[in-house]
Symmetry: C3
Subunit: 278 residues, 3 copies
């Protein structure tokens, strides 16, 4: 194992939970390296955690252990698992949907249910901090080779829990997909439409596109050009662009698209892109 543990949670940086988990890890093997991915996943937003894992995992060395804990059902019947991806990474997480995007993008070689005996201080009876007592503990045992993947517990034979992801589609005059995530800082919206579809759909670099974003019966309508990056349009203008995951995304140069249009993300947020006819 490469002795790297990354952490992703919805706990924020404002209290002691992260610090307790890091202590548990360092007490098991002080040579383990712990790197924060983010602890600001929106509270209870399992879908966002699943997406963020897809956004970062492919860039990491094999054998890196990803501890991903967004766990509104902590202590209930959802199963704590370790997933081994086809890319050779490990994900330590509750099986509550966090594996959705990685499963679709890369695929899972095997998922094992963490046996109840693998936990910190088995004499303790609290059930509300599996992050510390199970997920950090097992991440450290696995990453330090004190516990092999095979000894984690039984193989999960049921399907993992997943969100339904709406697949993108296209016909001669429309590209359709979903807004799969937004950037909470710069306010851009990312779709799941492959960028090559837009490239081949475009007439020329001055093509103006009609964009319709629909959610729960309400439709937003706007126009944008496709440009190499934000700075190719004026400040305050809309732009379609090629995002870092090779999908179509939409932004307003130096302003927030999602605040301006009050847009969020998930399977119920449908986007359509059409060539204008004027």
């Amino acid at each position: 194992m490469n002795k790297l543990i990354t952490m992703m949670t919805d706990w924020t940086y404002a209290e002691g939970a992260i610090g307790a988990c890091k202590g548990v890890i360092k007490s098991i093997d002080s040579s383990l390296e712990i790197i924060d991915i983010t602890h600001e996943i929106p509270a209870y937003d399992i879908y966002a955690a699943s997406f963020r894992l897809k956004q970062v995992l492919p860039f990491w060395p094999k054998e890196t252990v990803f501890m991903v804990v967004v766990d509104p059902g902590v202590g209930t019947s959802r199963r704590p698992v370790v997933a081994k991806t086809l890319s050779g990474h490990f994900i330590v997480t509750p099986d509550n949907g966090t594996l959705t995007h990685i499963n679709a993008l890369i695929g899972l070689e095997e998922v094992r249910i963490i046996d109840n005996k693998h936990r910190l201080w088995s004499s303790h009876h609290t059930n509300v901090f599996h992050g510390r007592d199970i997920f950090a503990y097992v991440s450290a045992k696995l990453s330090s080779d004190q516990l092999s993947f095979e000894d984690i517990g039984e193989v999960l034979v049921d399907p993992i829990i997943t969100f339904e992801l709406k697949e993108p589609s296209r016909d001669h005059d429309t590209l359709q997909g979903m807004i799969e995530i937004v950037d909470p800082n710069f306010g851009n919206a990312w779709t799941n439409i492959p960028i090559q579809w837009l490239v081949s759909f475009q007439s020329n670099e001055h093509t103006i596109f009609d964009i319709l974003i629909t959610s729960q019966g309400t439709t937003i309508h706007l126009k944008a050009v496709f440009a190499p990056t934000f700075g190719h349009v004026s400040k305050g203008e809309c732009v379609l662009y090629h995002n870092e995951l090779d999908h179509v995304a939409i932004a307003i140069n130096q302003e927030s698209f999602i605040k301006t249009y009050n847009v969020s993300y998930g399977p119920e947020w449908i986007i359509e892109i059409r060539r204008t006819h004027d």
Copy 2:
């Protein structure tokens, strides 16, 4: 020494203070490992820093150095100290109350006043950034074995500065304690009442408890059951639970208890738990 330095401050992540301190540490010994506990202790909230230290320190390996700087009195007569706990950890901090909870939970073997000669750039005259110039500097010197605990400075013979903590109490029909901290993210409130008191106080798993929270003459009254975890009650319902420090805590499933009831923490926040009679 184990060469681990953890940092806890109220500086936030938004400016350069943390980065300057980490540079000072790495310049003294680049093999030292620096781990952030949190830099989002509420501004000037020495009490919260003291509590967070108790929440995390016991999980760390012996000899870990905890740099804890919430220091509204920087540059005044409060003394910079290094405390060695009975558990073999070191805390580098101003003596302003941050040692309260650890002293009560674990106890301190010895406290030494940092001699004025131990500081970065002794020729400098600024008195507003002891975090960088004293606490980071001494943490690194100590952790790297360039300075022994005995050579830090004189032993502190006066008592350390502490907050008065209200001890929990119970009689045949009431458990009483204080709200010792809240979770700023999920909005749960933690009491200092031992969980075993509630376990033995409970008639059966359907027992409904009356809860009274009093602060400065105002009393909040509510009812809750005691459940293994949040998910055992419906979304939006109150629940008493066994928290990660083996105390009684109170939450609303997937909502914020502290925002709903406008609750804060500290010795003036009294909580009483009674069995209902209907």
Copy 3:
């Protein structure tokens, strides 16, 4: 090289960008150590990034690589560069103004334009995440000695892009300068006036100063004493103090000066300090 990479961006901690960059770095050489300076530079605020770099860089060991990415012009004609400072540090950044303060404080030995061949996945065509694809990649290649400074690319012969900084000045009854930054957490304002000017300007420790802060035609007028630190005045009182960079700064003890007076920073924020005559 010392194998230390520090990161400073305006990406926040709330999404996956940092995590992707860290994976790129660890995949190039897993022994590289990555330390966050801050990811909460205000969005698009190149000036603030430049200042924060000056605030922290001098405290780090030689050969540390500083990845500094605040890049509203990503993908446009601004040049990605690596600067070697006269102090022996390396800065990997877009040439858009981030080198202003370090250039003025320390000076640059040489600046090289990152050749287009040095980037992650050259087959990819996205232009919006040079942080991951160029700056993290080159930081790791350089820090791990897989790429020498000389092989980064051509020497930049044009001047670097800089902000105009207003130099401080003084005469017999006035010190003048600019507010060069503010502390977003505690709310202090830092000037670029050397502290020694105020020390020699002061009549005695009870001297009260008139302070005028002017921006865009509006002037704020207030009075303050000069004290060793915040705690020497009452809570809520204004104080001039010797800040951590040996400049004059202004604060309100345990309150926010910048919120109270609605003050910001940059060359257009002029401050004058005069001795009162009453």
